[in-house]
Amino acid sequence: MTSVPSQHFSPQAPALLPNAGTPQPAQGARAEQLAELYAEHFAFVWRSAKRLGVPLSAVDDAVQDVFLVAFHKLPEFEGRSSLRSWLFGITRKVVRGHRANRVSAPRDATDPEALPSQDAGPLRAAEQAQSARLLQQLLDELEEDRRAAFILVDLEELSVPEAAEVLGVNLNTLYSRVRAARQDLGKSLSRLRARSERGEPWNR
């Protein structure tokens, strides 16, 4: 996993909207802060958006939205949490918005993830992709808080205290969400396994 330093931006970030007549540097400095944020956390935000349920064809848009929100909210960032926690919170909100949009818009038929699954061939890459897609399907069925906990602990491999900090919950709550998520996923997998043994496709 990419290690993410624990440094915080200064709470005294440049003002979002400088007073009339204020010279350009505030805007430029904020753009540079965003660049720093982007360089450090792009991969984390991208993976998080994907794992929270954004289809591959829309991940770029979602990630862009996350950093746009971050750009506009930088002056609000108070440094009470880590930047990664802050960004994960923004990502969750943005993903909810994308989900809501997708409810009204039919899924793009050209989205590779919307195409019927191909049987796994001898190629390992294909098997790996199929496994990843299957896990995504299982994640889609998880309750949102459990899903976030599982993503951070089991996929991002954060420690429990780190994940608890990101989600703003105490350790017991985090443990309980991860445990519940694992149990839910195990049950779903057993169900799919049984379906597969009956000769039914595992994908919806």
Partner: protein, 232 residues
């Protein structure tokens, strides 16, 4: 803690190798953001214009190779940030972990990524290919919000608070509960106080400061409306 089902464990391992952004995706989003944000965002990441990139004889692959070479010699200083971060990013480049035990929750490993990229279905995306990219599709609602807010920003910097208010009113009309509503309210107060510190503007500003005492936006409102720290 319940151990992971072995089959689930293998899915997790596969997913970790599969779900990773490519260099092309990183650059594509960065270019799109640079257009929206401006102000040196692209330059800070070491992005060059598409035209310049196209005419350059140094292709992306060469740049990445250079970065990997530099990374190997621990000499990343001076390399554009966008590229710097690609070293641990190479899709599916992590070593395949030997089926980790999930009997207990794992501690965060600091796995040293290997720089050898593994072929991926998305690896060959042309970084600057605009077709279907975020840059060329219709703006998302959030991007529309940001665009209106940016218009207001520019108007304020140009000393045109009335024009800023027009853009902000449009934002209010289209996105009353938008994700950037707080920023809109702060910008509106800045514009109102720039036009004249009327009792109404000052009263609204004081309410804003009471509701968001710690926000960086409050500093902006306080400065615009001539309200001192005692109004915290």
């Amino acid at each position: 803690m319940e151990p992971l089902d072995p089959e689930l464990q293998s899915l997790v391992a596969a997913e970790r190798r599969e779900v990773e952004p490519t260099l092309a995706e990183r650059e594509r989003v960065a270019r799109s953001l640079a257009r929206r944000v401006g102000g040196g965002f692209g330059a800070a990441l070491g992005l060059v214009s598409t035209k310049a990139a196209a005419s350059s004889s140094i292709g992306l692959a060469l740049k990445v190779s250079l970065v990997l070479l530099l990374a190997g010699t621990a000499a990343l200083v001076g390399v554009p940030r966008l590229m710097q971060r690609e070293v641990p990013l190479a899709p599916a480049s992590r070593p395949v972990p030997p089926a980790p035990s999930h009997a207990a929750l794992p501690a965060p490993p600091e796995a040293a990524p290997t720089p050898t990229p593994e072929p991926s279905a998305r690896t060959n995306d042309a970084p600057s290919a605009p077709k279907g990219s975020a840059a060329t599709r219709a703006l998302s609602p959030l991007a529309e919000e940001a665009k209106l807010l940016k218009q207001a920003q520019q108007a304020l910097r140009a000393g045109q608070p009335q024009a800023a208010l027009t853009a902000l009113a449009e934002h209010q009309r289209r996105f009353p509960q938008g994700q950037l509503a707080l920023e809109r309210n702060a910008a509106r107060l800045t514009a109102l106080c720039t036009l004249g510190r009327t009792p109404r503007a000052l009263s609204e500003a004081q309410v804003f400061l009471q509701q968001h005492p710690q926000s960086g936006l409050s500093q902006q409102v306080r400065a615009s409306c001539g309200l001192g720290p005692e109004n915290r």
